[in-house]
């Protein structure tokens, strides 16, 4: 089979652009620069905002973490366990838990 010759295609491409595109593209470049420059914030300002956002997320995560940790600490006293359960379950299961709790509590 005949080997492909690159000269057969040269630098021709199957793409085209709308008429007058390049003149318009130059104007668009100037417009984009003007617009982009207006929207561009100085690097120092962007860095400060990034640090402030990171600090907020860190503080939030720390507070949430402490709060969750405190909630999950082991409660050994049956009465406290009962109170915790009541805050975590729906009303429908309260009666059931109460019954079990009373049985457990009577065994003590």
């Amino acid at each position: 089979m005949k080997e492909f010759d690159f000269n057969e295609v040269g630098r021709r491409m199957p793409y085209s652009v709308p008429e007058g595109f390049f003149e318009k593209a130059e104007q668009n470049a100037y417009a984009a620069i003007a617009d982009g420059t207006a929207r561009h914030r100085p690097r120092i300002m962007r860095s400060t905002m990034a640090i402030a956002s990171a600090a907020t997320v860190f503080i939030g995560a720390t507070v949430l973490g402490i709060h969750t940790f405190r909630d999950r600490q082991t409660v050994t006293d049956p009465q406290q366990q009962y109170c915790l359960l009541l805050t975590e379950v729906s009303d429908n299961t309260v009666e059931e838990i109460s019954a079990n709790y009373m049985e457990d509590y009577n065994d003590l």
């Binding site: 492909f4 021709r12 491409m13 390049f22 130059e26 470049a29 100037y30 003007a34 982009g36």
Partner: protein, 180 residues
């Protein structure tokens, strides 16, 4: 809004000089557009990347430390990096959302050509698009833009030996695909 070229020139100093930035836009817009278009295929994407490229170039021209001769490579480097980032984001997404179909660059190709799909130009471009992105970038810069390896090395950050190997493999693969 029509922008007067002169209104942006004073802020662009450094190596480029006072009247330089407008001259850069006038000189390189077409050539950079075609480089970007060959990389990303879709005209609208190429248009957006070209604009973004000029914005970046304008922002950083003041701190540009290279020589006047190397500014061409610098612009190509910005354009190439933006293309690679675009391709990665658009076609290598890990998560596909509802109603968002997975596409690849070859799926878009047939919608973007002005020649018949079985024309030699279309088949050649399709073969080129089937190459790995790195090989395709090297091939485009060497074959279409006719840049010397030293300049392609500045643009891509690859050694000249690696570039030559990539170009050779790209040529071989295209020959195979075009001979079928």
């Amino acid at each position: 809004m029509k922008i007067d070229n002169k209104s942006i020139v004073p802020a662009a100093g450094g190596v480029v000089g006072q009247a330089g930035f407008s001259a850069l836009i006038d000189t390189y817009t077409e050539q950079l557009y075609w480089h970007i278009r060959r990389m990303v295929v879709v005209h609208e994407d190429a248009q957006d990347i070209l604009q973004e490229m000029w914005i970046r170039a304008y922002r950083h021209i003041g701190s540009y430390k290279g020589s006047r001769a190397e500014i061409h490579s610098w612009l190509y480097k910005i354009a190439t990096n933006l293309c690679l980032r675009h391709l990665k984001r658009k076609y290598e997404r890990r998560f596909i959302f509802f109603g968002d179909e997975k596409t690849n660059i070859l799926d878009r190709f047939s919608e973007c050509i002005s020649e018949p799909p079985d024309s030699v130009e279309a088949r050649f471009q399709k073969a080129l698009l089937s190459l790995p992105t790195k090989q395709r970038t090297v091939f485009n810069l060497r074959y279409y833009d006719e840049l010397p390896y030293a300049e392609i090395s500045r643009i891509t950050g690859m050694s000249e030996t690696t570039l030559k190997t990539n170009y050779h493999y790209a040529q071989q693969r295209i020959k195979e695909l075009m001979t079928r």
